[in-house]
């Protein structure tokens, strides 16, 4: 595929790899915030080609993984109400909540539908005027504008049966919380490419400035990640901490102003609960009062009961970068992608699922 396969060319990678080896002298720990980057790094064996000076750490950037059980339980409770269709992206179906998953209750007869796009959810609402259709809105700034767009579509089409349960999360506040906690020490941050396509690379300026950590926005192909590591190494060796872009074809300093405008038109920041990290101020998105009639939290009386965390699962520690999946006793034993105990084993970008799939590339 054009503008995709070129960035997977192993022959082209050789030059940048040897440049990294030549430049890297100081031991450095880099965190890839995004689970998509973890997947690229393990799939293509990037850790193995890097010099021993560089340590890579996975971060909390998997929206499925950080969704709190309380929010999952709400979606499950909604799907169990008569006359309700719950729609969401495929990744969410298998994630275990406190007592069940969307997939399990679907098998038991609940109307849960996987969609590829929020436009599909809008079509389902149009085709089922006697049902109430709830879209479980999950994702970071990459996805939130598409959910905002669906609410604007629903308004323009005078749809009275479309609702969103917003569990959207914002990336800069969680990185700030992570760094402020002092739990992890970083020498560089691989910033998320598609979040930055929307919010722009400038959104990371505060990290470089306030925490003196080099930041480089990366794309998701192996060459993108290698270029990003090379730029981070260069900053480390030169004693710099600035924000750079290793994904210039997709990311601009100002992001996508129209996507940001729609997101802010429909949503406003709110506190959000993150798995493993507790509640972080202004790190979530809720519907503005102007769009309250589309808000599932307001339209339905949702009572999912008390939450329960999966026994023995250390997803929270993994998301904070203080443990790896190999530290979990359940990993690969009672927890597998077919029968996941925690969300990190479900999502294709969850650390546990990625380690399970590409285990041979995970060690160092």
């Amino acid at each position: 595929m054009k503008f995709l396969s070129e960035f997977r060319d192993a022959g082209l990678a050789k030059g940048v790899v040897s440049q990294i080896h030549r430049r890297s002298k100081t031991p450095a720990r880099f965190m890839e915030f995004c689970g998509g980057h973890t997947a690229t790094i393990l799939r293509y064996g990037i850790r193995q080609v890097l010099p021993a000076t560089i340590e890579m750490l996975s971060g909390p950037g998997c929206p499925v993984c950080v969704t709190a059980n309380a929010d999952l339980d709400k979606a499950i409770a909604l799907a169990q109400m008569p006359g309700v269709i719950v729609t969401t992206f495929g990744d969410m179906l298998k994630v275990p909540g406190s007592h069940s998953s969307l997939q399990k209750i679907k098998a038991e007869g609940a109307d849960v539908r996987m969609v590829y796009s929020t436009m599909d959810a809008i079509h389902i609402a149009e085709e089922n005027p006697s049902k109430r259709v709830v879209f479980l809105g999950i994702g970071f700034e990459t996805t939130a504008p598409t959910v905002a767009a669906s609410i604007l579509y629903a308004e323009e089409k005078y749809l009275k049966n479309y609702y969103v349960l917003s569990t959207h999360k914002l990336c800069p506040p969680v990185i700030k919380a992570l760094l402020a906690s002092g739990e992890v020490n970083l020498d560089g941050l691989i910033c998320p490419g598609h979040v930055s396509a929307v919010i722009g690379s400038r959104a990371w300026d505060f990290i470089a400035r306030d925490y003196a950590i080099p930041c480089v926005v990366s794309g998701f192909e192996p060459l993108d990640v290698l270029q990003c590591v090379d730029m981070l190494v260069t900053q480390v060796e030169e004693g710099n901490s600035k924000v750079e872009i290793a994904y210039r074809r997709g990311v601009r300093p100002e992001g996508n102003p129209e996507a940001l405008r729609l997101m802010h038109e429909v949503f406003e920041p709110c506190p959000a609960q993150w798995r493993g990290m507790g509640t972080i101020p202004d790190s979530g998105l809720k519907l503005r009062s102007t769009y309250q009639r589309f808000d599932a939290e307001c339209a339905f009386d949702i009572d999912p009961g008390p939450t329960r965390e999966p026994q023995g699962c250390i997803c929270g520690d993994i998301l904070r970068g203080v443990k790896t999946p190999l530290d979990c006793r359940l990993f690969g034993n009672s927890c597998t992608p077919e029968d996941p105990v925690g969300p990190c084993m479900v999502s294709s970008e969850g650390s546990c699922a990625t380690y399970y799939l590409y285990g041979r590339n995970s060690g160092r």
Binding site: E6, F7, G11, L12, Y116, H194, A197, V198, F220, E258
Partner: protein
């Protein structure tokens, strides 16, 4: 979850476009990139173009990789 891939816009009608994604035609929304034109590559995430791909920057980045690869080859 934040998976997004480049696709070529083949035609546009109202706010929607038919794009070529590696040989498969898909209908996507241009609501987030109203300035996109036929012939542009857009980065598609869950049925929406979230940005227009900068083809010039893509080629520049590839050129850089080529130069580095060549330099590494000559060093041997």
């Amino acid at each position: 979850m934040c998976l997004a891939i480049p696709a070529l816009i083949e035609s546009i009608k109202n706010e929607e476009a038919d794009v070529d994604m590696g040989g498969i035609t898909r209908r996507i929304s241009l609501r987030l990139t109203p300035q996109a034109k036929v012939g542009d590559y857009v980065i598609v995430h869950t049925g929406y173009a979230i940005n227009i791909l900068d083809q010039h920057e893509a080629r520049e980045t590839l050129k850089l990789f080529e130069q580095l690869a060549k330099a590494a080859e000559e060093e041997r």
